[in-house]
């Protein structure tokens, strides 16, 4: 069902405001014949920019979520002091009257600073020392504590010097960050925020997303190779080595999504989930898990961040980057993560559809209010939730696995499971799906009913897979001797070298 907030029809509709304004403006001039082209140009320009800005600035939300969630998981307060100590100072004490160094005396800046300090400084004037030790400040008690830390980080990156290592391949070294960042930004082009808020919608947008996702590892490899540093070299090679281990299961998982939805288009697959009556998550939980695991590997986060394993490779393939190039690479990594969360929302969580939207929207008053909730907001909330529950939680509770282990994991487990999921999708689509019951209305369809029981297929599938996961988690033989195998073939077998014996 279409979202009622339709940005594209405002700017690109047949009789939209933009269209009518441009038509009346060029009326009677030489451009009269191309009025529709002009209004398309202006409208597209506006839509693309608005969507891009929405996606880009909502990305600060995930940075904030990660910062705060990590602080909770680490059992500490988040780092909220950097900007404050730079700027406002605390409890009436600023870091010197630094604004006097500004041109024109900086009187206005100083006045603003003093006002902020007085208004939002420490609330407890009796215990200035305690407050200072506890890092209490106006940052800690405002609406979004710590939100502007990202701005401080960005400022820091901007002010740092950019250096190219000696005897590095200068051209490739300079080009590869742009390769990574630009290909990453292209992903945002096809991500819809709702049925009417998207920049572009190619027919094969699922394939496009995966193709674009696959460009950045080439940049990573270039960056690692060109930096003239052994750590970056190993990081780049690791990135290339683990690429095949997760990309193929990822492609197969998306293929199974496409088979189930009957389309290679993201927006159509969301419509399909509503029209068929069930989110894909409940039809293919295995596919959802595979998608998340392979996506964590794709965006190089813990536990699959071997290319930048900071314990042994300092900072991996981006060791030699500094300044804003490092900042942009960092941003690109988060945008990729964000895009992965979006894709999960769209493929498995029904996109902009609210839970039980088809049923609830039929209730007279409540249903009307229910669909008034903007679809873009629903998408963002779902995305942030996926990021919080999966990506942040995994990052801060798991360790990092080794390169040979992800290769083994990818080839021996993920790939067969992905093939199984493809077969399951074919079976579901051919034998369990009832195309006659599809309904592209507000009410939604019931294509997954069986034997007259509504929603039988999704419920049975979910229960079955939960049971499988439960059994797998609990069938461990606690008394068995742990299998301590080291599955690697080396020139000299690991563990056979005894110091002092040779």
């Amino acid at each position: 069902m279409d979202d009622i907030y339709d940005l594209r029809s405002i700017f690109l509709g047949k009789d939209s405001l933009v269209s009518s304004l441009i038509t009346s403006a060029v009326e009677g001039t030489a451009l009269e014949d191309s009025a529709s082209d002009l209004s398309f140009l202006v409208g597209t320009f506006a839509v693309v920019n608005i969507v891009f800005l929405m996606l880009f600035f909502s990305q600060f939300g995930i940075l904030w979520i990660e910062r705060k969630a990590a602080a909770r998981m680490h059992d500490r307060r988040g780092a909220t002091t950097a900007l404050r100590s730079l700027w406002v100072g605390e409890n009436g004490v600023t870091a010197g009257e630094w604004w006097k160094m500004l041109p024109f005396g900086g009187g206005i800046v100083g006045a603003i600073n003093k006002f902020l300090n007085k208004r939002f400084g420490n609330r407890d004037p009796k215990n200035p020392t305690v407050d200072r030790v506890n890092n209490r400040s106006w940052m800690g008690y405002s609406i979004l504590p710590g939100f502007f830390q990202n701005v401080a980080d960005g400022m820091k990156f901007l002010l740092k010097e950019h250096m190219v290592p000696r005897r590095a391949d200068k051209l490739i070294f300079e080009v590869s960050p742009f390769l990574i960042v630009s290909s990453t930004l292209l992903i945002l082009g096809i991500i819809p925020l709702s049925s009417g808020i998207y920049a572009t919608n190619p027919d094969l947008s699922i394939l496009y997303a995966i193709a674009i996702f696959g460009i950045a590892p080439i940049g990573v490899f270039f960056a690692g190779w060109s930096s003239n540093n052994k750590y970056t070299l190993i990081g780049g090679i690791r990135s290339a080595a683990q690429l095949t281990a997760y990309e193929i299961p990822l492609l197969l998982t998306l293929l199974s999504v496409a088979i189930l939805s009957g389309t290679f288009n993201i927006i159509e697959s969301i419509h399909f989930q509503h029209a068929a009556g069930s989110w894909n998550l409940f039809l293919m939980p295995l596919g959802a898990v595979l998608f998340l695991v392979t996506m964590i590997a794709e965006v190089e986060r813990v536990p699959f961040d071997m290319p930048e394993a900071e314990a042994e490779l300092v900072e991996g393939w981006w060791t030699e980057y500094g300044g804003m190039r490092f900042g942009m690479l960092f941003m690109a990594e988060y945008i990729r993560t964000y895009a992965a969360c979006f894709l999960f929302t769209h493929f498995f969580l029904g996109g902009w559809h609210l839970p039980f939207q088809g049923t609830i929207s039929q209730i007279p008053v409540l249903g009307d209010a229910y669909v008034l909730i903007p679809g873009a907001l629903v998408v963002l909330l779902k995305t942030w939730l996926v990021f919080l529950v999966v990506f942040v939680w995994a990052r801060f509770s798991l360790a990092r696995i080794r390169t040979d282990q992800i290769l083994e994991f990818g080839w021996r487990m993920l790939l067969p499971l992905a093939v199984v999921q493809v077969i399951l999708s074919v079976v579901y689509r051919l034998y369990l799906f009832q195309p006659d019951n599809m309904s592209y209305t507000a009410e939604g369809g019931n294509a997954w009913d069986a034997w007259g029981i509504p929603m039988f297929i999704p419920i049975a599938t979910t229960v079955l897979w939960l049971a499988v996961f439960y059994v797998l988690l609990n069938d461990e033989d606690k008394d068995a001797a742990p299998d301590r195998m080291y599955h690697v073939h080396t020139l000299q077998a690991a563990g056979t070298h005894i110091p002092g014996k040779d």
Binding site: A311, R402, Q405
Partner: protein, 379 residues
């Protein structure tokens, strides 16, 4: 495949200090290693020759910045052996409690550094959080956070503060629950297990030959704990047992064994602290004045030429030994020679060689599991 040398250090996340590990790699596999030490050699042994016996204690605090109390105690026992000082029983108990609290703090520092080595940053902040509890306790005793200068020749500087025992009991019991929490996060995580199990085998026989000691050999099944084998202080009076792992492989102990042995040792330290507070002479709440005979006795300040003192002490990383010779400057006021045996100085070159055959990613895991400390290594 082409081989290359990688120089990890002196500043590198793996090193846990200031030293260099040169690694020869073949692809991802380590084929040769070489440890270079000596970046923070301060000449502590030589400095000690120009200090009198009391002034040496702060220098011994600084031998290892995460385990100051045990190193100071280690020196004190050698000096008491040399000067033939009598130590009151209450002071011995307080020393034992302080050393075991220090052992908890040191092992927490190890676990906190070991987590990021494997890739788990949460472990670090959790361990720092809990270590802070014990550093607070030690600060109550010594007055500063890391270097306490607390033990004295013939006793300890001052009695336990008011309410100290209650806080120790409360924090230790809380920490025992937190240990279960750690094990829930780590031992039940498959990734943690596959990174540690089967990695970094160290053979018991070769470790003993090399002179490695402490938790690292106990992980390989060697039941040698100085506190148990040659009890100093009052370790024979309280209720505990050394933690020894039974290795699962003929190759020796792997990283997981070394991780487990330290976790068990933390439990034993908690047990020791609680038991010592029950058995301490003079009661756990009694408050003696500074210099009271119950906590500090007068000791001679000069040692004649030819007299020697020796201590064999179980530090947090192994057996630390001091050899102090009397008859130095000022008619025997200073030692003629102080010789320090650091367990890590022996362990680090040994560990560097055990890495051969493993992957680059295993280097921090293996190195971290041996708990390196460069302060005592270079001294």
């Amino acid at each position: 495949m082409a081989q290359m040398w990688i120089t990890m250090g002196p500043q590198h996340p793996m090193t846990h200090g200031l030293w260099t590990l040169r690694v020869k790699v073949d692809g991802e596999t380590v084929v040769d290693t070489e440890a270079e030490l000596g970046y923070i050699h301060r000449g502590v042994e030589k400095i000690c020759e120009a200090r009198d016996f009391t002034q040496i204690t702060p220098y011994c605090d600084r031998l290892c910045y995460v385990s100051a109390m045990t190193w100071a105690n280690s020196y004190i026992y050698a000096a008491e052996d040399l000067l033939e000082a009598e130590v009151p029983a209450r002071a011995e108990y307080i020393r034992l409690i302080s050393a075991e609290i220090q052992r908890l703090a040191s092992h927490l520092m190890w676990l906190g550094a070991f987590g990021p080595d494997i890739g788990n940053l949460t472990l670090m902040t959790w361990c720092m959080r809990d270590r802070e509890m014990f550093l607070d306790l030690l600060q109550e005793l010594g007055g500063s956070r890391m270097h306490y200068n607390y033990p004295r020749i013939g006793g300890v500087k001052r009695d336990m503060p008011v309410g100290f025992a209650d806080r120790v009991i409360a924090k230790t019991k809380l920490f025992e629950k937190r240990l279960d929490e750690y094990e829930m996060m780590l031992d039940q995580s498959t990734i943690w297990l596959v990174r540690l199990q089967g990695v970094g085998y160290a053979n018991a026989e070769s470790m003993v030959d090399a002179g490695v000691s402490g938790p690292n050999v106990r992980a390989a099944g060697v039941n040698y704990d100085v506190r148990w084998a040659h009890p100093y202080s009052v370790y024979d009076e309280i209720d505990w047992e050394p933690s020894v792992e039974k290795p699962t492989s003929v190759k020796g102990a792997d990283c997981f064994d070394r991780y487990r042995v330290r976790m068990e040792e933390m439990r034993q330290s908690c047990r020791m602290v609680l038991d010592a507070l029950n058995k301490i002479p003079g009661g756990k709440n009694t408050n003696y004045a500074s210099g009271d005979e119950m906590i500090l006795t007068k000791a001679p300040t000069r040692a004649p030429e030819g007299a020697t003192g020796f201590s064999n002490y179980e530090c947090t990383r192994g057996a630390s030994q001091f050899h102090v010779q009397g008859g130095g400057e000022g008619r025997g006021k200073n030692p003629y020679r102080v010789s320090i045996r650091s367990p890590m100085f022996i362990t680090i070159p040994y560990v560097a060689k055990t890495m051969i055959g493993y992957k680059i990613a295993d280097i921090p895991a293996i190195m971290g599991s041996f708990d390196p400390c460069i302060g005592e290594t270079d001294r």
